[in-house]
């Protein structure tokens, strides 16, 4: 695929990085020569220096031949203008814009084809905030990801000694929870993936990925580890874009405190976040944390824009007795060092938001993608089309499919009826060997190795005879 990325900042460069290794031709546009040079030194891509909204710059970046435009500059206005230009002058088929201001997204008509021609808008800060909210809601989980309009969730959790299913084979899940259907899609043991079979024994310390109807995920979790207390008190370090959004979204349901270093910013936040206690101070200050009763906190989230500060603050909070700590970490090497060690959860914002872009890069009708295990694994939601003769998937039972080892179908979601396209999805079918796949089903598949993705994409494609 020929892809133009506008903006070489944090979002643009991490998007470039995750797309470049695949069979894509990538062109990155930015006004900052230094940023572009850094990218080019590391990655096999082309760059153009210039204003991303200018027709001549877009042309130079290969707009006439591009399949996809990803406009992720810092400026919403530049991104919008670039999408409009790309449509009018170059007919780029798919245009994605990063829009931070909710002003625009509140008026979807502005983004339609008569106006700014944005096919999909993304707000990475909002995606990260939603992700964090799920972790607050499910304190036992490492990750909770939504598929099929939220009907199905993929949950990652670490098993602990004494969990009812620990020491038992995977197939026992059904006997333990006869009234609930769930599927263990992958197990990571000491960071290595294990393809789960019915007789695979679950060990304490395993990172287990399972799929279940969203309403059932707590019940399944209780098989892997004892129920933690629900989250009540939260302390957020950093009142930037993500920290302030999260406080705003969480303050009605939880007791939220927020520490912001910048005095003016802290004052401003204090005025807008009416149910959050906003404090001015340094989250790596031991005395401040102690004074704010860090040992009574259910969840401490270090969300400043400084990796080192986040790591230090989270380590400190943990040692001072916070029940669970999380650090936002942009540098991948740091995140790799830390997870599962002394910081409970280390997350990379780029990794979390990349899935929403990957859904448009993957071949086939892909409704959702989540990048997992720092990009090493992926979970995809395919919408299948055709019939037994034009598809390798439709009209077959899951046990008949010839998918590569390491690709596991976890769930199938079926619409109410084929006569009402557009109607909301209805039935969640947890995958079993005899599950029959019907046209227009949403099939959710876990892929343990990213290298297998192209094979799986091909497998789900319709054949030539599909009209």
């Amino acid at each position: 695929m020929k892809i133009i990325i506008l903006g070489a900042g944090q979002v643009g460069s991490s998007v470039a990085e995750s797309l470049v290794s695949e069979s894509n031709e990538i062109n990155v546009v930015d006004t900052d020569v230094g940023l572009l040079r850094q990218l080019q030194d590391r990655l096999d891509l082309r760059t153009v220096v210039g204003n991303a909204a200018l027709p001549s710059v877009l042309r130079q970046a290969g707009a006439e031949d591009a399949d996809l435009l990803i406009a992720v500059t810092q400026s919403d206005q530049t991104n919008l203008c670039a999408c409009r230009t790309a449509e009018t002058l170059f007919k780029i088929p798919t245009k994605i814009a990063r829009l931070r201001s909710s002003d625009y997204t509140q008026h979807p008509e502005l983004l339609d084809n008569k106006n700014f021609c944005v096919d999909f808008s993304i707000c990475p800060e909002q995606i990260v905030t939603d992700y964090l909210l799920k972790l607050i809601e499910y304190p036992e989980a490492l990750q909770v990801l939504k598929f099929a309009e939220g009907l199905v969730s993929l949950v990652a959790a670490r098993t602990v000694p004494g969990g009812p299913l620990v020491g038992k084979p995977v197939s026992d899940l059904r006997q333990h929870l006869p009234q609930i259907d769930a599927r263990i899609a992958a197990i990571y043991r000491r960071d290595q993936p294990i393809v789960p079979e019915g007789d695979t024994l679950i060990e304490a310390g395993d990172e287990v990925f399972y799929l279940a109807a969203t309403r059932d995920i707590r019940r399944v979790m209780s098989e892997l580890r004892h129920r933690d207390q629900p989250t009540r008190r939260i302390l957020i370090a950093g009142g930037g874009n993500i920290g302030s959004r999260l406080a705003g979204a969480a303050q009605d349901r939880y007791q939220v405190k927020l520490i912001e270093l910048d005095e003016l910013r802290a004052k401003g936040l204090g005025a807008t976040l009416d149910r959050t206690l906003v404090l001015h101070g340094d989250a790596t200050d031991e005395k401040l944390l102690a004074a704010e009763n860090i040992d009574e906190m259910d969840f401490f989230l270090a969300l400043t824009n400084d990796d080192e500060n986040n790591i230090m603050a989270a380590l400190l909070a943990k040692s001072l007795g916070a029940r669970r700590v999380l650090a936002l970490i942009n540098r991948r090497a740091y995140a790799d060092l830390l997870q599962a060690d002394r910081i409970d959860i280390a997350i990379s914002p780029a990794q979390i938001s990349i899935g929403s872009l990957l859904a448009h890069v993957r071949r086939g009708d892909v409704a959702a993608v989540h990048s997992l295990r720092r990009g090493a694994a992926e979970a995809l939601e395919f919408v299948v089309h055709g019939d037994r003769s034009t598809s390798k998937v439709v009209g077959r039972r899951i046990c008949e499919l010839d998918l590569p080892r390491g690709a596991t179908i976890g769930a199938v979601v079926r619409g109410p009826s084929p006569d009402t396209p557009g109607a909301p999805l209805g039935q969640v079918l947890i995958a079993h060997g005899d599950t029959l796949i019907e046209p227009e089903d949403h099939v959710i598949i876990f892929i343990a190795h990213k290298e297998l993705v192209p094979k799986v994409e091909r497998y789900f494609q319709v054949g030539l005879a599909f009209f």
Partner: protein, 149 residues
Amino acid sequence: MFSPDLINEARIGCGLEIASKKRLLEMLADLLAGDHPRLHTESIFERLLERERLGSTGLGHGIALPHARIREVTQVQGAFVKTASGVDYDAADGEPVDLAFALLVPEAANEEHLRLLAHLASLFSDPSIRAQLREADSPAALLRVLNSR
């Protein structure tokens, strides 16, 4: 032999300088829209792209058969393009495509359309036909080869 309604010289492009799948589909959409009263390049392009997204129509050996259903036509319409050099088409064999036959069929696609697709696939599976198409230097010459079987 194809009927002139299906394919004719006006809807054939020969030796076009095209560098991408996107431009190739755009060119085919343009030829298909031609002087048709109800067809527009944009909507054909969109339909062809949508279909490609579900699965590449690259047959292998440098051939592609992009196709789509479209409300505006009552009978099958075709267009053919030979590019000056191959474009990356995400075909099954990974080979770049330089010969593309596009088809638009009415919404109610039927057996006849499948037979036409099968006929085209078998025509292009013949190495000598492919060689003759690559040698042809004008729309008229390309049409003669297409009609030779």
